[in-house]
């Protein structure tokens, strides 16, 4: 089997500086799956930073993927600002009660420090992973972009209506979400991590391009500019239907766009050299329900398209690696990129 000749960190640095690489980077979005494959309950993993970090270290030691991606759920920032979550024992937390169910009721919103509540859990997880394997692999932390945080503060159905009926409230929630997002990005960087911005509610499955440009994009641009000022490449992930918002996503100013439900060939043609693309092995159909052979076939096709991506290509999963995915399928992604993604 083909062997790696660079460490994940060397490969990432090479990618960012335009140096030569032995192969494409491969970043399966191993998030809560890290807990499951480590035999740790999801509920324990996302409330204890040390455990969370250790799960990710264990997942990395098995997969040797090119970026560790710390994450619990997309409501972590909203929770710090007042949204109530429910914690199943062995599943991801979910929004139980948005902070602002009634537009007049803003008293439940509170200001939050960048290490408040589970933000601190994520920061501790970064520290744990950096201390253990930070010399060979970069550690990132995925967190919700302002639109997704605002949706968790208001409820997704309500914010969708507010885009017509209560624009002022929407922008107010977006500003709060952006403010905490910037401070949390700083805290991630200070902890030795790389911020990865995810905006799953601002997906083309929910919004048209006009609303994306009016409500999601301006705040993404400000967050991305803030991260870029700290000297880091901006990674933006939006899952679901990507095709109809891809042009607007490009305007967010991210260096690396992680895409989900779009053909990579279409993304390649539309993005050109304006950004690098990351994706998009199908999470449910392939990583969860498929076989290692299915994964290899998809990886081979993606790598062939990746070679024609003028702005660069990273092999990734379309969205979070499903919690119950067989580890053999994630390993097949890594084996596939070593086989089909060689660049030397």
């Amino acid at each position: 089997m083909a062997q790696d000749r660079m460490s994940p960190k060397e490969r990432l640095n090479g990618f960012l500086t335009g140096g030569r690489l032995d192969r494409f980077l491969c970043v399966p979005l191993v998030l809560n799956h890290a807990a499951r494959m480590s035999g740790v309950k999801i509920g324990a993993h996302n409330r204890d930073g040390r455990i969370m970090g250790e799960c990710h270290v264990e997942a990395y030691r098995r997969y040797r993927q090119d970026l560790i991606t710390i994450f619990s759920d997309t409501a972590v920032l909203a929770e710090a600002l007042g949204t109530e979550l429910r914690y199943p024992d062995d599943d991801v937390p979910r929004v139980e009660r948005p902070a602002v169910t009634d537009p007049d009721d803003r008293s439940r919103l509170r200001s939050a420090a960048a290490d408040a509540g589970r933000l601190g859990v994520c920061l501790q997880a970064i520290g744990t992973a950096v201390a253990a394997v930070g010399d060979e692999v970069a550690v990132s932390c995925c967190f919700a972009a302002p639109f997704t945080t605002a949706a968790c503060l208001r409820g997704t159905d309500q914010i969708a209506r507010d885009l017509y009926r209560n624009k002022d409230l929407t922008h107010e929630l977006l500003r709060m979400s952006l403010d905490l997002g910037k401070r949390f990005a700083d805290a991630v960087i200070d902890a030795g991590g790389v911020p990865v911005v995810v905006d799953p509610v601002a997906t083309g499955s929910v919004l048209g391009e006009a609303h994306f440009r009016e409500f999601a994009l301006p705040y993404l641009q400000q967050l991305d500019a803030h991260i870029a000022r700290r000297g880091l490449p901006v990674v933006l992930h939006i899952c679901g239907q990507t095709s109809r918002i891809l042009d607007a996503m490009l305007d967010a100013g991210a260096a690396l766009l992680s895409v989900d439900d779009i053909s990579m060939a279409e993304a390649r043609d539309r993005v050109g050299d304006r950004a690098a693309l990351m994706g998009n092995v199908r999470p449910a159909q392939t990583l969860l329900q498929g076989t290692p052979e299915d994964v290899l076939r998809e990886v081979r096709e993606l790598c062939a398209i990746g070679r024609e991506c003028k702005g660069g290509f990273v092999l990734g999963s379309g969205c979070e690696v499903p919690i119950d995915s067989p580890p053999e399928n994630v390993e097949a992604m890594m084996a596939g990129v070593r086989e089909h993604g060689r660049l030397d």
């Binding site: 919004l207 048209g208 679901g240 919690i323």
Partner: protein, 223 residues
Amino acid sequence: MTTNANDILQELARMVVNMDEQGAVAAAHRALERGVDPYVAITEGLSAGMREVGELYDRGEYFVPEILVCSDAMYAAIAVLKPHIETSPDRTPVTVILGVIEGDIHDIGKNIVKIMLEAAGFDVRDLGRDVSAESFVNAAREAGSGIVGISTLMSTTLRNMTKVIQGLCDAGLRQSFGVMIGGSPTSAAFARQIGADGHGRDAKDAVELAQALAGRLAWRKTG
């Protein structure tokens, strides 16, 4: 039907498409004043408007926010009309028990399906999100017959869909219900694999599937 009544039906539809809640309510009152059958005002006025909204969604001209605001207009006008409807056996709608399976934090797709099913005349019992298999089965037992629609947006919750179908079988209810599934990680192949009767790719597909399943149920009852 008089031109006058037709105008009102068209106005009801237009108010829904235009996201005009106050206009829809005013049109509903006008329909009652002019003696338009409130049942027809819903099925051929408001629902026709909502079907057009569905078509605009399919064409990528309307999105989730537009569907929700249009549906608010539809429901506000339905609330005006519904108390005046005379029930009759041929107007008894098929029940659809709808919910997002346990473990799923999203329900926006399900809400869209609910709106379109109601616009198509189904009686939707919405169990909400994060629904346990047991709750689906209990609701089915209460309804007696109809359709069960299970949705998810998360691949992590797929295994819980199987539990609903198993629960319906164990309760002896499987023959009385059509089972349809939907949501981005699902597929027709997955529906077959877990023994569901069908898979809806999107809201429009789900409505067509529900109509087909309702037809099959009616045939089972008479045959």
